[in-house]
């Protein structure tokens, strides 16, 4: 299953229990965890807590096979079928991941890849000997009660868990103000980058979740005008999707960042790419209503982004995809098999979203690649 020339190893758990991740891809010191190619059991009867226990047990098992353990996990994204089950999953994670918690971004999704699932887990672990640095600044000290670090650095990579517009005690600031909450969250990302020894310019990737996708446009000017230079030739990859619920009631946006502290000087460890859908002359999304064509266009854009940096789709190790209707996921999977190849070494986690940046956009793809 491994490709010695690329020092890449694919580990698949063929009989994963409900909720459990099925796949790990090891590339050097990094291990990427996800749900593909085997999506796993349906398990409608297993409750959220049981599925979470399955998820973390499987995570530990996959890491053990890869030569690591749960203490190596630096980043977790969990996708929950109901926002009200997030806390139960966090408590299971407290047992499984502590005491040096990874950056953890929990978010409710509108549908799971497999019906009956209550949670899907995507994670990154770093098996290197470097120390793991867990960072939660005083400005968001309420995070210290969560089984999560706001930022987690190991080696050159810093993962910043989805930041919110909250004050130090966890109260939502600027209620109902999406742009205000975005500004606050991006300030926290900048602060955490600084505490990790980097700066905002080291951010290579932003994955943001919005309770109403209609607000994404309002956040864009905050993001590009105030925090990132719109003329930057290599801006961070930004994937923005609407999701039905964030950690706490009243939170409108959640911003997960990856910073590569080696990116600027040495070309970077990880490449992050996203795919904005192609649009026609009127600015309307192309291939309207055609999930297969939109998936193809999306993957081709990711391939172009990788080719520009000397890579290809074969380098993609982790894919997190969001779909307006999970029924359209099958079309994306067909295209992926064709473009990535049947033997791709890829950890893929998919979930339903309530909408992407553009009306008519059926998928949003977030990819990490190791060149």
């Amino acid at each position: 299953m491994s490709d010695p020339t690329r020092s890449r190893e694919l580990i698949v758990n063929e009989d994963a229990a409900p909720g459990a991740p099925t796949t790990a891809v090891r590339a050097g010191d990094l291990v990427f965890i996800g749900q593909s190619p085997t999506p796993g059991a349906e398990g409608r009867e297993a409750d959220a807590r049981t599925q979470a226990q399955n998820a973390f047990a499987a995570l530990a098992q996959l890491l053990e096979t890869a030569g690591g353990d749960p203490g190596d996990v630096v980043d977790v994204v969990t996708l929950h079928s109901d926002s009200r089950t997030i806390d139960a999953v966090l408590e299971v994670g407290r047992e499984a991941l502590g005491p040096d918690f990874p950056a953890w971004t929990p978010v409710a999704c509108s549908a799971q890849r497999v019906p009956g699932r209550t949670v899907a887990l995507s994670a990154v672990a770093h098996l290197g000997d470097e120390p793991k640095q867990c960072i939660t600044p005083d400005t968001i000290k309420w995070w210290r009660e969560l089984p999560a670090s706001a930022g987690c650095r190991k080696g050159d990579l810093l993962f910043v868990a989805g930041q919110y517009g909250s004050d130090a005690d966890g109260n939502v600031n600027t209620p109902g103000d999406h742009a205000g909450q975005a500004r606050n969250a991006l300030n926290r990302i900048a602060e955490i980058c600084g505490l990790a020894g980097g700066r905002l310019d080291d951010v290579i990737d932003l994955l943001s979740f919005h309770q109403d996708p209609r607000w994404i446009a309002a956040v864009e000017s905050v993001y590009l005008g105030e925090f990132f230079d719109p003329d930057d030739p290599e801006p961070p990859a930004w994937t923005a999707v609407g999701m039905p619920g964030l950690l706490r009631l009243g939170m409108l946006g959640q911003y997960r960042a990856i910073a590569d502290l080696r990116a600027v000087t040495e070309g970077g460890t990880v490449l992050a790419t996203t795919a904005a859908p192609p649009r026609d002359a009127n600015g309307s999304v192309a291939h309207r209503g055609d999930p297969e064509a939109q998936a193809r266009a999306g993957f081709e854009l990711i391939a172009e982004g990788l080719a520009a940096r000397g890579g290809s789709l074969r380098d993609v190790v982790q894919l997190v995809s969001f779909h307006l209707d999970p029924g359209a996921l099958e079309a994306a999977e067909r295209v992926a098999r064709e473009l990535f190849g049947d033997d791709s070494e890829l950890a893929w986690t998919a979930a339903g979203m309530t909408g992407a940046r553009h009306e008519g956009q059926l998928h949003a793809f977030h990819a990490l690649a190791i060149p």
Partner: protein, 393 residues
């Protein structure tokens, strides 16, 4: 009142479902969610205007087959997979309804029968001779640019479209406050009822939609306060559903109400099997002199509120239908009198299993109007469905 299903060749795909494109009961016609779909129920062109036109054409065909016309439509709820399309759909709707629009509630859904179906438009029409009155109170001045009404009255019925905390200029205030927005939405419902000559005492059925299901908790406090002085035997039915989008960005709760001006007090029936039986919220309600019953979204929980058959899609649906049956029987009616089902599903792919369960309760030849809707959250995270019904006796 006899119940007559309306069948159409163009909607032949309903033949295999325990549902009808529309059901007529007396003057009222209940129309299933019409789609931008072909005769097999599969999506046509994905352009939002094209799908809306097809759905409204089919609505018109159904009305005409029942002996009515578009002007008879009094109530619409349109469900959208992307709320950014609502404007385009309403523009199309303006051509069909003209100056005398129905009460129109536009909200999000996670999905319908098949991927690619972007809009589902369910409607109630009143085919009688009574004059129809579309109502846009001054407090809703912002709506005057749109081809929709805040409320619509015909005969004894008043339909209040989904009300939010919108001010007269359309701004939603206060931002981010579920409870205060629910208060304002309730006030807006009151203003619409008053303009229609009705009061809260005439309300049978309340459906509230919430952007975050956790927001239902503060809204429940508002509900309990607003109905605190209402004796439990006279309570209205309330259904609360989490949906991915509401009328406008920033709106956290949206309340749609059906009122009946028929004489007599409101009669609530709530079987002992329903766990909210001790709150001012019925299993199903009607006016003593009226014939329409609003039935609260039934869920799979026992008399103590525990989720029954966790994770069991089929049996949760059966449990819901059994509760609907109990409620209509307490009102002296039967499942044959159920005219409309709106089934909200945590995972909209479940519709097929739920309709399979529905076959045990409804005739394939004469099922109710039925609109399946994908929701982001129901009252309890353990519920897979919440099934709302209307019956006519």
């Amino acid at each position: 009142v006899s119940r007559t299903p309306v069948e159409l060749d163009e909607l032949g795909w309903y033949d295999r479902l325990p549902a009808s494109p529309a059901v007529r009961a007396g003057d009222l016609l209940f129309v299933s969610g019409q789609l931008g779909a072909d005769a097999r129920g599969l999506p046509i062109a994905s352009d939002p205007r094209g799908q809306a036109s097809r759905a409204l054409d089919d609505l018109q065909r159904v009305l005409e087959a029942a002996g009515g016309r578009m002007a008879d439509v009094v109530d619409v709820i349109s469900f959208h997979t992307d709320a950014r399309r609502v404007g385009a759909v309403l523009e199309v709707a303006g051509d069909y309804f003209g100056a005398d629009p129905p009460a129109w509630t536009a909200v999000g859904m996670t999905g319908s029968y098949a991927p690619g179906l972007d809009v589902s438009i369910r409607a109630i029409a009143h085919l009688g001779e009574a004059p129809k009155r579309a109502i846009v109170p001054d407090s809703h001045a912002w709506m005057r640019d749109l081809p929709i009404a805040a409320a619509c009255r015909k005969g004894p019925y008043v339909f209040v479209a989904g009300q939010t905390a919108a001010a007269a200029d359309g701004r939603i205030e206060p931002r981010g406050d579920h409870r205060a927005q629910a208060e304002r939405a309730y006030d807006a419902v009151g203003a619409c009822l008053e303009a229609a000559g009705a009061t809260m005492d005439d309300v049978l059925d309340i459906c509230s939609f919430h952007l975050d299901p956790r927001g239902m908790v503060p809204c429940e406090r508002v509900h309990l306060e607003r109905w605190r002085d209402t004796p439990i035997p006279n309570a209205p039915a309330w259904t609360a559903i989490g949906l991915p989008a509401l009328a406008a960005p920033g709106a956290l709760a949206q309340y749609r109400v059906i009122a009946d001006l028929s004489p007599g007090p409101r009669i609530a029936e709530t079987p002992a099997s329903i766990h909210w039986k001790n709150t001012p919220n019925s299993g199903g309600s009607r006016k003593r002199g009226g014939s329409l019953i609003g039935i609260a979204g039934e869920v799979a929980s026992d008399a103590e509120g525990n989720v029954t058959t966790p994770g069991d899609t089929l049996n949760q649906a059966r449990y819901c239908f059994n509760r609907i049956r109990e409620v209509v029987e307490m009102h002296g009616a039967s499942m044959d009198d159920v005219v409309e089902i709106t089934s909200f599903h945590k995972d909209h792919r479940d519709w097929e299993l739920v309709m399979a369960a529905g076959r045990e309760y409804f005739d394939l030849e004469a099922g109710p109007a039925w609109t399946p809707v994908g929701a982001i959250g129901l009252w309890s995270p353990g519920y897979q469905h919440e099934i709302h019904a209307l019956a006519v006796i």
